[in-house]
Structures are given as C-alpha cells and as structure tokens.
Symmetry: C2
C-alpha cells in the first residue's frame, strides 16, 4: 500500500509499504476513505520536534476490511470514524470520559493513517460506525470529527462554553475555527475569534463568531477586556500551543473563568504566580474525541453542522508533500488527502 | 495602638502606631480579638519576598468599634470574621463566587491585622457577624475561618473533593491540614495526607485523613499511584507553593482529575507539555474565603468542626517575634496572637 513517510523536516514522501495485518484479536484493518494533515504534523515538518523516517497521520475515516476474532461492535463493510488515540472505552479512565488517556491507549500517529490502509487497535473501543455509507459530501465532515472537530469540541467543553457565556478563541487554525462552531452549538452568547486573516475570519463568522479581534499578545488581551467590561471572557480556548497564546488565553479570562487548551504545547512554561493570581480554571490536553464521536457523527449525519468546511484543499495522497507545504505556508487551513 | 511591623527579613517588631480611623463611609474599625501568623508571612521573613517596614497580618476576628455612614449589615458591638481580601460582595466577580478577585478588592495585608485595631474596607461585603458573642474556646476556630480554613475549603472545592473521590493533600501546614478537614466534610471517600511529621500526621488523621504518605516528589507520586490502582488520585490539593509540590500534585492526579492549588506560588513554572499530557484540571489562587464564611461560621458555631486545633501556640501580640521564629523553625504549625 501507499503511505506518507516524513524522512526529516520538510521532507515528506509517499512510498510503498507492506499492507497492515491483524496483530491482536481486538484489531481491525480499514481502507482509508479520507485522511488529512494536522497542525501538529507541522511541528516535525518545521523541525520543532525530532523526526526520522516517521509514518504520518492520525485522522481517518474509512471502510472496515478485516476484523480480529474478538471484535464485536464493527463489521466488515462498515463505514467508521475513529480518533487519534485508540482506546478500549471500558477502563476507568475511559468511563470517566478521558479516552485519550485510556490505560491501554495506542497513538494512531505511530501507526500512520496517511495511507491506503490502516490497522486500528482496540477497534470496538475506538471506532464508531456511521448509520450507513455516507454521501460523498459528508466525508470531509466525518473526517473532521476524527480530530479537529472533536478537539475543538473538547476545548469548548473544557472552557465551559455555554448559555450566557462570552467565549474567546485564541488560534484560527482548523481546531480554533471548529472550537467556535462547538461554542456556538453549546449555546455561548458571544464568541470572540482572534484572527488576522480575512478568510479565516469569514469562516469563524460562518461557524458562529460574533466578534473578531485582530490583535495578539497583550494587545489582544486588552481588546478582549474592552469587550467584556474590563473583566475578561468567561471561557477562553487556546488552540495554538505557544507561550504567547497560552499567556494570552489565561490573561483574557476573568477570575473564576475557564481556559480550555488544546494546542500541543511547545516550549511553554506557565509562571506559577501569574496563574495563581489569575484565578482561572485551566484544563486541556489531548482531546478525548471518542467521548464526543457518537454525538458529532449524528450532528453531521443530520447535516446540522458542516465542519468539513475547514478543508480548503483536497489532494490525492500521492501529493501529500504539496499539502504539507500549503499548510506550512498557510495557503491552506487544512488539507484533505484522498488515498 | 500596638501593631506588628516587619522591618526586614527575620526582623519582626511590635510598635506603637496611630489608631486607625474611618476613611471611607463603607469602612468599619474593629478591635481585634485574635489574629495570627500565616505561612505566607514566612516568605518575606525568609527573604524569599522583599520586605521593608511592612505592617503584617491579614487574618482577624474582632468586635466592631466604629462604622462608616454607609455600613448597613454590621453594627458596633458585633463580633465579626473577615477574609484577607476586603471585597464588596456585589460586583459581577463576587457574585460569581470569586470575592478574592473583587473588582474593588483591598488586600488586608497592606493594612495589617496583627494589631490591636484594624480598619476594614468594604465592611458590608467583607465582614460576617457571628450569631452572638462567641465562647472563648470558639475564637481560634473562627479565626481559622478567616484564612486557613477558608483556603483549605476552597482548595478542596477546586479539587472537586466529594463522595466516591480519593483525595491527596500535598502540604501539611495549617492549610493542608484544614484541606483534609474540608475534603472530609465534603464527603471524600479516601484522603491521603502527605506528611513526614508525626504531630501533623496525627492532626491530619483527626481531621479525616485515611492514609498517610511520607515520601515527597517522584517517590510521593509513585506512592499515591500505588494506592490508586496506578491511576492517581481523583482530587489533589497543593498547599505549599513550590515547584516540587506543584509538580507532585499534578503528577499524582489521574487524567481528568482535579488539582486545587492554594500554596502561594514562588518560583514555580509549570511545563506546558507535562500539563498538556497530564489531562488534569488545574484551579486555584487566592481563596474566595468570603464565599464560604457564612457556612463555615455556622459549622464552627454549632461545634460541628474544630479547625482551631491547628493553633498549637498562643502568644500575646507583643511576643509576635517569637511566634514568627516558632513557625519558621516549624516548632509550631500555626501561632495565634492575642492583642
């Protein structure tokens, strides 16, 4: 099969690899219908994380081709959506809603889903079958559910977005934009999107943003405070992963408010005294997307939400390198790859 | 009147100062019945914070001597308990339960309550009158409510201690010990106190601790994990304020669990990647003690709880220097001063 491999920073290739096989009786193998490039894939691409001949990708939808002898809840031929952590969905941590920290979790990024086929460990716990074969136009949205939508949703839940709340979203990548959508669905009264790109501002407004702030850092904090009687937002979502974004998020939140952070942290150190004096709640990390998948798949199936709009470039898998370049140069928000 | 002044690190004196006067029509002046030395007072005493001829103290109970023209809810002769932040209790932040971040807050530590008399700004918002004049044996417990009990209570609430939860408490000072009491009152199933001092372990057990862990740092984390099926505690309270204690607290918490931190942060920097991967909730800061005062005063008045046990040394105000020394050398957990 064909699979994307990052040889080193900036060096993405598609090469022939052995087809995956059932290894454990709880595995499934799926034929990938669509996969995509994640903002987090750009960290190694930009040499901000080490990388050496690494298979890539952790977002996927597809059709089950094989199942192990102990798989019960998905069948060959099912169209399925999974998350970037395989999880058993039965352990105490999963049952508490934190499947991304499952005691038996397997990172899909180590298996790689930018490929024609993929082995899915713990298939019963990991995969959610759609009600039937989706129409082609639903596939991008279902793919979004596997990471960026689920991550944005978790961020909005972690930030306690809801009725009566003013929510600010720091980060206008796919996750930030879908956090806007999530905050809107969760009933937030006002949603302030922080973005300086006209195309992303437009999508943020389409997803439910009521205000746009273009300033970043301290100026961005001041602007959010101006918009909130000097108090700060009730709920702030951090969807970048840098020191500046994290501190902007904390400082934009009123005392007692909630920061939901889902940007993968890089060289971030939160000063204890600033956090102490802020009085905010801080929660985040790898999103337990699996918790939200049944609900998100249904919202997409019913055409209530259209998160697939974040994909503004679709390429064949063989042109993955062009996709990485487009996201690196920010000429695309998010790239869908078709195996 | 007599008042404690810290001339510099390690140099505590009691000197004659002008009696406080009503400045704002919302002020009250109280005659202090009892005050005490806070763990946070040791930071400047140990030169970990700058200090120069600073009046000291922010914990107090006493009898109202004068009120300003706009004070409505307390009267001359009332016995009152207040918190270490004066707050209006009417602003949007106060109404959300975060009186320690009141938009009009005044830090009592800048006024100093290790004194015979003290001016209390925003008296209506700040002070809670007891049902009558308390018996002498209730005074230490009422004094504890003004900071250490209220702070421990907030820490337990922030850590979401409650039925079915295993709670770990890092820090065996007065706040940590009273966080044990709070977790117990909130219905926690198991309470693990981290302490290596026999007298403090005994008090922790009296307040409701079910297990003791003597190890600190990584060894302490391992021990808490051993006691919790390898998962970590649901709720962890950090009541120290150091890097080691904060990281021990985060690492002792299971994914999706809650850390309540109330140790005043000193030279703490939380690595973003460790926090991200931990999946915990983090909340803390200066406790909104005022929120809990009516409930805590009633529990004390009814003799349901006896937080005053944390005071293991009582001295006249004039011997404040001896009290600082005893706490610095850890020969006393907490020192009550009688003006």
């Amino acid at each position: 099969m064909r699979q994307v491999v990052m040889y080193g920073p900036g060096d993405v290739r598609v090469e022939e690899r052995d087809d995956p096989q059932i290894v454990e009786p709880t595995d499934a193998v799926i034929r990938v219908s669509a996969t995509c490039i994640c903002g987090s894939d750009l960290w190694p691409y930009r040499a901000a994380e080490p990388v050496d001949h690494q298979v890539m990708g952790h977002e996927y939808v597809g059709v089950v081709e094989q199942i192990g002898s102990q798989v019960r809840t998905v069948s060959v031929g099912d169209f399925v959506v999974g998350s970037f952590w395989a999880s058993d969905n039965t352990c105490e941590i999963c049952r508490a809603g934190y499947q991304s920290h499952c005691v038996h979790r397997v990172p899909m990024g180590m298996i790689g889903t930018q490929s024609e086929l993929a082995r899915i460990p713990l298939a019963d716990g990991t995969l959610v079958a759609t009600p039937g074969m989706p129409d082609a136009d639903l596939v991008p949205s279902l793919l979004a559910a596997s990471d960026v939508l689920g991550t944005g949703w978790f961020a909005a839940v972690a930030a306690e977005a809801g009725p009566g709340k003013t929510v600010a979203v720091v980060g206008d990548g796919a996750v930030g934009l879908l956090a806007v959508l999530a905050a809107s669905r969760l009933g937030a009264e006002r949603i302030i999107a922080v973005s300086r790109h006209a195309d992303r501002q437009a999508l943020a407004r389409e997803f439910g943003a009521t205000e746009i702030v273009e300033e970043r850092g301290d100026a961005g904090v001041d602007r959010v405070k101006e918009l909130t009687d000097g108090l700060g937002a009730h709920s702030v979502i951090e969807a970048v992963g840098t020191q500046e974004a994290m501190m902007q998020a904390i400082a934009s939140t009123r005392p007692g408010g909630h920061v939901g952070f889902v940007g993968v942290s890089h060289d971030v150190a939160i000063p204890g005294d600033a956090l102490f004096m802020s009085g905010v709640h801080l929660h985040g990390g790898p999103a337990p997307v699996r918790q939200y998948l049944p609900e998100l798949v249904q919202l997409i199936w019913d055409r209530t939400i259209d998160p697939g709009k974040v994909f503004d470039l679709t390429l064949p898998l063989d042109q993955a390198a062009d996709g990485y370049q487009a996201m690196d140069e920010r000429t695309a928000i998010k790239v869908l790859l078709k195996p």
